[in-house]
């Protein structure tokens, strides 16, 4: 880099900010294109997606609405957490 330090700073600002904006603009374009491409050619059917999500997170959708059970569960989790410390 040539010139005095102020002009170096100005240049750094111009080229730096320029690069940031150009890069993120390209990222906007690529991301949008990628999302559209996937939505068009590899759409996830909602049900399998949900299943995949559940598989990933070890969740299961079985209802656990018995209030007694829910109480037991939350108590067990509390106690488990308390034990951890």
């Amino acid at each position: 880099m040539q010139g005095d330090i102020v002009s170096q700073g100005v240049e750094l600002m111009l080229f730096g900010m320029g690069t940031v904006v150009v890069f993120l603009a390209l990222l906007v374009v690529s991301t949008t294109a990628m999302s559209r491409f996937i939505a068009r050619y590899f759409p996830e059917s909602e049900a399998p997606a949900l299943a995949a999500l559940e598989r990933l997170h070890g969740q299961q959708s079985e209802p656990s609405d018995d209030p007694n059970l829910v109480a037991a569960i939350s108590a067990a989790i509390h106690q488990y957490r308390a034990k951890k410390h």
């Binding site: 700073g9 750094l12 690069t19 940031v20 993120l24 990222l27 906007v28 690529s30 997606a49």
Partner: protein
Amino acid sequence: MDNLLQLWSTSGLAQMGLGQAFMILIGLLLLFLAIRKGFEPLLLVPIGFGGILANIPGAGLAYSAVENAVHAADPALMAEFARTLGVTVTDNMKDLLVAYSASGTGAHLTVQQLALDAGYANGMLYNFYTVAIASGVAPLVIFMGVGAMTDFGPLLANPKTLFLGAAAQFGIFATVLGAVGLTSMGWMDFSIADAAAIGIIGGADGPTAIYVSSILAPDLLGAIAVAAYSYMALVPMIQPPIMRALTTEEERKIEMVQLRHVSQREKIIFPLVLLILVALLLPDAAPLLGMFCFGNLMKECGVVDRLSDTAQNALINITTIFLGLSVGSKLVADKFLDVNTLGILGLGIIAFGIGTACGVLIAKLMNRFGSTPLNPLIGSAGVSAVPMAARVSNKIGLEANPHNFLLMHAMGPNVAGVIGSAVAAGVMISLVGG
């Protein structure tokens, strides 16, 4: 009696300098802020504690073996150092250290060996710094862990928010200008590399700031890291006045449309798209953004959960402990107590302010020209400071309109700001560090 004298002369009280005492108080202050006020405690507790350790007089924990030998100033050893380095011994031992750091490989190694043979050793914090920061590994590993904790869903649902993440980086470059301005007026003494490292405080992203300063301005690293983490903790105080000043009540009330569902596939592909863009355009940002994308890919791909869990827990915690202590080693009095440190602290807060303002203003601009409504309050989240800045946007939004939940909308610019400042880091390393 000799032993008593030896013990006394090696005690801290006998060797305590004013600067060291002051820096120990600074360390205690950082601990107070972290523990009592909740200022980014995960980093500021280790940094503050490391700062105290670094300033224990006579312990030399933050110095290399050669520095410790020069501080001890044994005349015979100093004479040998001087002979090896080809200089004359003076009263000012700093000259020896200058000559040492300018010496060639042979002399360098010989002086090191002389110091070690004379019983001096690298300080504990010096070793931590060498392994964790000088090698560059600790900030990169933390960035990997941050990647593994980041959800790009909101960003993918509304990619335009990337522009807000770009806008807020103007704080970085405005600060560079400020730093060179102060220098050209003779008030401070920063090189262009120093100015770039100071600017990155405006990125509001700890590991990025530490990574850049370790390359461009290692001597300023302590002040830069302390400023970056302190101001990140102060975001809920710094940002709201700026946000209120630049927006009207009507703008703050704007409700945004609910974000679309983002598929798992998009989330898996996104870090690869980002990586390829980095590879094509900005190789100097590859270490930072590469590790970030790697962490995110591990999280999203769903087949390496045990690696992703470790990256988010044991590995990032271990690294944080040593990173913090290492940063603390740069709070050693003779490096930190300098008028430049004041300049860094002042410029840092300006950087946060300008970044916030630019984010909000560009959001207003986009709202004016865009088709879908955009609440300008989410622009301020573009500085990063994840997730604090997004929470601030949400809070101010709720104040204006109790049905206005901006949190998820603000997470888009928030993570975009992480990418933006990593890109800025790459540009500066490329232009200034080469």
